[in-house]
C-alpha cells in the first residue's frame, strides 16, 4: 500500500468510523492532523525521489486501474486539501456528526481525485466528494429552507450536468488515445499515446473545448458560474471552505493535468483560445462588477471566488511555464485565502446573525484578532505582495503577457490588461467590505468577540501558510517542477 493510498483512506476511514458512532470531533480532528503529517512525510519522500505510484487493476478492457501516483502538482493540491480540511473541521462547533462526516468525505474525495492517475478514479472521487457537499447545502445550509433547497438543486443539477459533459470529453480522450490494444483510462498510458500519435489539431480543439466546458463548469467558468455564489453563501462553513478552497479546484487540476498535456494543439487552437479568453474576461470583469454590487459578505465572497478563477484560467490560456506555475500557485493561494475568508465569515455569521454590510460596522473594536485575520484574507485575495496570491497573479500576468508585441497587442494581451483591471476591482469590493464591516462606527445590536484559544490555531495556520508561500513561492514552484512543453 502506497503512502498516497493511506492519505486517501484516512479521511474516508475516519468518516466511516464517525458514521459507526465513534466520537466525531476527536476523530475528525485527529484524522485531519494525522493526514497532514502523513502528507508531509509523503512530500519528503517525494523530494527524496521515492516512486510512490501504485496500481490495482479493476477492469481489463476498458482498462481501469485504481492507480495512485504523485507529481508536484497533485501533491500541492493534496497539501492544500489537508490544510483546508484541518481548518475546516476545526470550524465545526456544536454541530451534528454529519458535519464531520461530510467534511472528511469531501476532503477524502478531493484527495482521491488529486492523487489518482486513472481518469476513472480522478472523475469518480470528485463526484464522491460532491454528494456530501450538495447534501450539506440542502439540509444544513443557511437561509430559509425553500431558498437553500433551490440553491442546492441548482448546484446539484449544474455540477451534475457539468460532470457529464466532462465525462463525454474524457470518454473522447480515452477513445482517441487508448492505442491499439483496447481502451484504457490510465492517464500515463494516454499521455504516451498523445505524445507518440497525437490527434489532428482540429479534433484536439473540439475535445479540449468539451473538456473546458466540463471542467469549467466545475470551476464556475463564465458563463457556467451562476451556481457558485449562492451555493457558497448558503453552504455551511466547513463545506464552503472545502468546496471553494479545494474541491472546486478539481476542474483546474483536470485542465492542467489532463487537458493541456493530452491536447496541446487543442489548447492552442485559435478559436479555443479566443473562446477561453472571452470566458475568463467574463469571469473577471462581469463577475467583478457583480461582486462589487453585492451587499452581503457571504455572497460577495462567493462571487469573488468565481471572479478569481478568471486569473487561473488566464494562466491556463497562456499555457507557458511561468503562467502555469502561476496558475497552480494561484490555485493553492486562492484555496487557502478563500478558506480563511469563509472560516471567518462563518464565525461572524454565528455571532452576528447577519452579514449585511449596511447593518454592520466597527467590528474591529471588539475583535482585533478577527480583524487582523480578515485583513490577511482580504489583502491576500486582492493580491498584496508577501501573501501567496500575489506571486501567483504576477506569474500569470507575466506569463500571459509574454508574447511578441511586434504585431501589436494580441487578444491575450488585452485579456491580461483587463485582468489587471480586475485586480483593481477586487480591491474595490474587498476593501469596501473590510471597511464597512470592521471600521467606522460600531453598529448597534451586533456584538462580536474574538475566537478563543484553540480556535485560533487553524486560522493562524492558514495565515502562516499564506505568508510563507507569499514570501517563498518557490516552495511551491520548486515542488511543481513544471517545464514548458
Amino acid at each position: 500500500m502506497s503512502l498516497l493510498e493511506i492519505i486517501i483512506l484516512i479521511p474516508l476511514l475516519a468518516a466511516a468510523l464517525i458514521g459507526a458512532g465513534l466520537p466525531a470531533k476527536l476523530i475528525s480532528r485527529g484524522a485531519s492532523v494525522l493526514n497532514l503529517v502523513v502528507l508531509l512525510v509523503t512530500l519528503s519522500q517525494h523530494a527524496a525521489g521515492v516512486n510512490l505510484s501504485h496500481s490495482i487493476p479493476i477492469l481489463d478492457n476498458p482498462a481501469i486501474n485504481f492507480a495512485v501516483g504523485a507529481d508536484g502538482f497533485s501533491l500541492t493540491l493534496a497539501l492544500l486539501t489537508c490544510l483546508v480540511l484541518l481548518a475546516a473541521v476545526w470550524q465545526i462547533i456544536d454541530k451534528p456528526a454529519i458535519y464531520h462526516v461530510a467534511s472528511l468525505l469531501i476532503a477524502g474525495g478531493a484527495l482521491g481525485a488529486f492523487l489518482s492517475t486513472d481518469l476513472f478514479f480522478i472523475y469518480g472521487f470528485h463526484e464522491l466528494a460532491l454528494i456530501p457537499t450538495l447534501l450539506m447545502i440542502a439540509v444544513h445550509g443557511h437561509g430559509d429552507a425553500t431558498n437553500r433547497r433551490a440553491i442546492a438543486w441548482k448546484i446539484t443539477v449544474y455540477l451534475g450536468a457539468g460532470s457529464l459533459v466532462l465525462l463525454a470529453g474524457l470518454a473522447a480522450l480515452v477513445l482517441n488515445y487508448s492505442g491499439s490494444n483496447g481502451l484504457t483510462f490510465d492517464l500515463n498510458a494516454l499521455l504516451e499515446t498523445a505524445k507518440s500519435a497525437p490527434l489532428a489539431a482540429d479534433a484536439q480543439a473540439w475535445i479540449f473545448f468539451v473538456l473546458l466546458v466540463g471542467f469549467g463548469t466545475l470551476v464556475s467558468l463564465f458563463p457556467f458560474h451562476s451556481w457558485a455564489a449562492p451555493a457558497y453563501a448558503a453552504a455551511p462553513t466547513p463545506v464552503a471552505m472545502l468546496h471553494s478552497g479545494v474541491l472546486k479546484k478539481f476542474g483546474l487540476y483536470g485542465l492542467i493535468k489532463i487537458a493541456l498535456p493530452l491536447l496541446p494543439l487543442g489548447a492552442k487552437a485559435e478559436w479555443v483560445q479566443q473562446a477561453l479568453l472571452l470566458m475568463l474576461v467574463g469571469n473577471i470583469i462581469v463577475i467583478g462588477l457583480v461582486t462589487i454590487h453585492q451587499s452581503s459578505l457571504d455572497t460577495m465572497l462567493g462571487n469573488s471566488s468565481v471572479m478569481h478563477m478568471g486569473y487561473i484560467f488566464l494562466g491556463i490560456a497562456a499555457g507557458n511555464t511561468v503562467a502555469l506555475n502561476g496558475a497552480v500557485l494561484l490555485i493553492f493561494a486562492h484555496g487557502i485565502s478563500i478558506a480563511l475568508a469563509f472560516a471567518l465569515c462563518g464565525k461572524m455569521r454565528n455571532q452576528l446573525g447577519t452579514l449585511e454590510f449596511s447593518k454592520l460596522g466597527g467590528l474591529a473594536g471588539n475583535a482585533p484578532f478577527l480583524t487582523v485575520m480578515f485583513g490577511f484574507a482580504t489583502f491576500s485575495s486582492i493580491g498584496l505582495p508577501g501573501l501567496a496570491n500575489f506571486a501567483g497573479e504576477v506569474m500569470v500576468f507575466v506569463g500571459a503577457f509574454h508574447q511578441s508585441l511586434n504585431t501589436g497587442l494580441k487578444p491575450i494581451h488585452w485579456a491580461t490588461i483587463l485582468a489587471l483591471w480586475g485586480v483593481v476591482m477586487s480591491a474595490v469590493y474587498m476593501l469596501r467590505a473590510y471597511r464597512s464591516l470592521f471600521f467606522g462606527k460600531a453598529a448597534e445590536g451586533h456584538f462580536i468577540s474574538d475566537p478563543l484559544g484553540s480556535q485560533r490555531i487553524p486560522l493562524l495556520l492558514l495565515t502562516a501558510v499564506l505568508l510563507v508561500v507569499g514570501c517563498r513561492p518557490s516552495l511551491i514552484t520548486d515542488l511543481l517542477n513544471f517545464t514548458a512543453k
Binding site: G282, P385, G386, V394, F401, F439, T477
Partner: protein
C-alpha cells in the same frame, strides 16, 4: 559590515520589528513596541549613514520567483541615488518615530501605530533598494498597505476609514498602469525585469537588445504605464484625490509618508527608469505636462484651504508636480534634488503643523488659530523656516532645488516655465497666508489662546529638521546625498530664472501678507478653489455611474441573461417537456392504448419509411 549584510539589515530589521510587534502586541505593553520600533529605526539610520558614499554595488538577497522564464529576486542597487534616498527615509523616519513618541502618547493603539510605522520603513527601504521592476512593485504595494494602515489608524472615524480605502484604491489604479508597464517591458525585452538588464537590452550594443528593436509605441506604452504608477503614488492629477484625504491619518504619518518619502517614491521610481522614459518623447511630454499641471492645479486649490494639514497636503501635491515635471523635462536629477530638500522642509512643516494641532487640542482650522507665534515660539520658528524653504527664499534649501527645476523648464519649454513660475508665486502666497493666519494676529478661539508648546520630544525633531531645511540645498550637504551633477547647460539664463523665482517669492508672500494680516476671515472667496475644482464630486459621480450603476446593470443582466440562458432556460424547457410528458400519463386507459397504437404506427413508419432512406 559588508554592504550585502547592511542592506539585509536595513530590509529585515524593520520587518522583524513590525512582525514582532504584531505578534507580541497582545502580550506586552506598548512600551516594548515603541522600543522595538524606534530601536530599529535608529539602527537603520546608522546603517544608512554608513552606506552613504559607499561604492555603487548591486546584489541579490534571495530569489522570490524562480521558474523558467521568470527569475525575480529581492536584490538591491546601492548607488548614490538609493543611498541618498535611504538616508532621507531613515533619517526622517527616525525623527518621525521620535516625534510620535510624544504625539501619540495618549493613543490607545500605539503598538499598532509603531508596528505599522516599522512596516512602512521596511516597505520604503525595499522601494529604495529595488534592483528590478518587480521588486519595486512588490514594495510599492507594501507601502500602499502601510499607508492604508496608518491613514486608517483611527478606524472608528468613518472619514479615516474612507480615506484609507480611497488612498489604497487610487493607488491601485496607478499600479494597474505600473504593472502594464512592467509587463510590456518584460514582453518587449523578452523576459527582463532588472534595471541593469533592461538598460542593456535597450542599448543594443554587442548583444542583440530586444528592447532596442521594440516598436516605438511599445516604449511609449511602457513609459506611460510606469508613469501611471508614479501618478498614483505621487498623487498627480488625475489621481491626486487621495492625498488630501490621507491627512485623516495621524500627523506624523502625514509628515513621513504623505509628504517626505512615500509620495516621493513615484518620482524616485521615474528617475530610476528614466532611461526608459527618454525613449519616448511623447511620454516625456505627457509627464512634464502632467507634472506642471499638477503643480499649478494643486497650488490653486491650496490657496483656499483652511485646514492647516490640507494646505500642506496640496502644497505637497504641487511640489510633487514640480518634481515630476522635472523628470519629464529630462532633469531627473533636479527632481531628485527637489525631492531631498522637499523631504526635509515638508516633513518639518508637517511635524510643525502637528505641533500646532497638538498645541490647539486637535484643532486644524487655521481660522480658529491665530497668534500662536507667542504661545508656541519654537514651533513658530521652525514652521517659519519650513515655510521659507518651501517658498524658495534664496539661501534656503528650497531655493536651490526649485530654481534648478525652473531652469530646466526655462530651457525646455516656455509654457511650463511660465506656469511653474506662477506656481512658485502661488506657493509663496498660500504659505504666507497660512503662517500669517495661524501664527500672527490674535487668537480667534479659546483653544488657540490657551495653546501651549509641544513637549521637547516633539520639538527636538523640528529643530533638527530646520537645520536640514536650511542647509540641505548647499553643495556640501547635497553632494553627500546625490551623485547626479546638475546639467551644465542650465547655467544659461540662470540669472533670469533666479530673478523670476525671487520675484515670485516676494510678490506672492507680499500679496498674502497684505491680504491676510490681521484678518479674521478670508477676504478671498473662490469657491472653485475651495472646493478643489469639484474633482471629488465629479469622481463620486463617475464612481457611481461607471462602477456602482454599471455593477448594478451588469448584475441584472448577468442574472437575466447568463444565468437565464445557461441555467434557467434549459431548466424551464426540461420542466415544460417533463410536464407535457407527464400529462400524457393521464391515467386514462384509452389514452394509453391510443399512445401505444400511435407509437406502433410511428415505429412502423420510421423503420419502414424513414430510416432506410438515410
Amino acid at each position: 559590515m559588508n554592504q550585502q549584510s547592511a542592506v539585509s539589515l536595513l530590509l529585515l530589521l524593520p520587518l522583524f520589528a513590525a512582525f514582532a510587534i504584531l505578534v507580541l502586541n497582545r502580550y506586552v505593553g506598548s512600551f516594548v513596541s515603541k522600543v522595538i520600533s524606534v530601536g530599529s529605526a535608529t539602527i537603520c539610520l546608522i546603517t544608512s549613514c554608513l552606506l552613504l558614499g559607499a561604492e555603487p554595488t548591486t546584489g541579490t538577497l534571495f530569489q522570490f520567483i524562480d521558474v523558467d522564464g521568470l527569475h525575480a529576486g529581492i536584490g538591491f542597487i546601492l548607488d548614490q541615488q538609493s543611498a541618498g534616498m535611504m538616508f532621507i527615509v531613515t533619517f526622517i523616519g527616525l525623527l518621525v518615530h521620535v516625534y510620535s513618541l510624544g504625539y501619540m502618547k495618549e493613543d490607545e493603539s500605539q503598538s499598532r501605530f509603531f508596528g505599522s510605522l516599522s512596516m512602512f520603513m521596511f516597505s520604503m527601504t525595499g522601494i529604495v533598494l529595488a534592483d528590478n521592476l518587480l521588486m519595486m512593485f512588490v514594495f510599492w504595494e507594501l507601502v500602499g498597505l502601510s499607508s492604508y494602515l496608518l491613514i486608517g489608524h483611527w478606524f472608528e472615524k468613518p472619514s479615516a476609514a474612507e480615506a484609507a480605502k480611497k488612498a489604497f484604491l487610487t493607488n491601485r489604479i496607478g499600479d494597474f498602469g505600473f504593472m502594464i508597464g512592467i509587463l510590456v517591458l518584460f514582453a518587449a525585452s523578452n523576459g527582463e525585469i532588472g534595471f541593469a538588464a533592461l538598460k542593456e537590452s535597450l542599448s543594443g550594443g554587442s548583444t542583440t537588445g530586444p528592447l532596442h528593436d521594440a516598436p516605438s509605441w511599445v516604449m511609449t506604452l511602457a513609459a506611460l504605464g510606469l508613469f501611471m504608477g508614479a501618478v498614483g503614488k505621487s498623487a498627480q492629477v488625475p489621481l491626486h484625490v487621495w492625498l488630501p484625504d490621507a491627512m485623516e491619518g495621524p500627523t506624523p504619518v502625514s509628515a513621513l509618508i504623505h509628504a517626505a518619502t512615500m509620495v516621493a517614491a513615484g518620482v524616485y521610481m521615474l528617475v530610476r527608469v528614466s532611461f526608459i522614459l527618454v525613449e519616448s518623447e511623447l511620454a516625456m511630454q505627457i509627464i512634464s505636462g502632467i507634472g506642471g499641471f499638477t503643480a499649478l492645479f494643486a497650488a490653486l486649490m491650496a490657496v483656499q484651504q483652511n485646514d492647516i494639514k490640507r494646505i500642506l497636503a496640496y502644497s505637497t501635491l504641487s511640489q510633487l508636480g514640480y518634481m515630476v515635471m522635472a523628470v519629464g523635462l529630462h532633469a531627473g536629477e533636479a527632481g531628485m534634488f527637489h525631492l531631498y530638500t522637499h523631504a526635509f522642509f515638508k516633513a518639518l512643516l508637517f511635524l510643525g503643523a502637528g505641533a500646532v494641532i497638538y498645541a490647539c487640542h486637535h484643532e486644524q482650522d487655521i481660522w480658529k488659530m491665530g497668534g500662536l507665534r507667542k504661545q508656541t515660539p519654537a514651533t513658530f520658528l521652525t514652521f517659519a523656516i519650513g515655510t521659507l524653504a518651501l517658498m524658495g527664499l534664496p539661501g534656503m534649501s528650497g531655493f536651490f532645488s526649485k530654481e534648478e527645476i525652473l531652469g530646466a523648464a526655462y530651457h525646455e519649454c516656455g509654457w511650463l516655465f511660465a506656469s511653474a513660475s506662477f506656481t512658485a508665486l502661488l506657493t509663496s502666497f498660500y504659505m504666507t497666508r497660512c503662517v500669517v493666519v495661524a501664527f500672527f494676529g490674535k487668537a480667534r478661539t479659546e483653544a488657540a489662546s490657551h495653546a501651549h508648546e509641544a513637549p521637547m520630544i516633539m520639538i527636538a525633531p523640528l529643530l533638527l529638521l530646520s537645520i536640514f531645511a536650511i542647509f540641505s540645498g548647499y553643495g556640501f550637504f547635497s553632494g553627500r546625498l546625490q551623485a547626479l551633477v546638475p546639467h551644465a547647460g542650465h547655467a544659461e539664463g540662470h540669472l533670469f530664472v533666479m530673478g523670476i523665482s525671487i520675484a515670485a517669492v516676494v510678490i506672492g508672500s507680499g500679496l498674502a501678507f497684505f491680504l491676510y494680516n490681521g484678518k479674521d476671515k478670508d477676504p478671498l472667496n473662490i469657491k472653485l478653489f475651495a472646493n478643489k475644482f469639484y474633482i471629488d464630486e465629479i469622481y463620486a459621480v463617475i464612481v457611481k455611474v461607471f462602477q456602482d450603476r454599471l455593477a448594478w446593470i451588469v448584475t441584472g443582466l448577468e442574472s437575466i441573461f447568463v444565468d437565464g440562458l445557461v441555467a434557467r432556460l434549459p431548466a424551464a424547457i426540461a420542466c415544460r417537456m417533463g410536464k407535457t410528458a407527464r400529462a400524457m400519463q393521464s391515467g386514462q386507459l384509452q389514452g394509453y392504448t391510443f399512445a401505444l397504437g400511435l407509437g406502433l404506427l410511428l415505429a412502423i413508419y420510421l423503420v419502414v419509411q424513414v430510416l432506410p432512406r438515410h
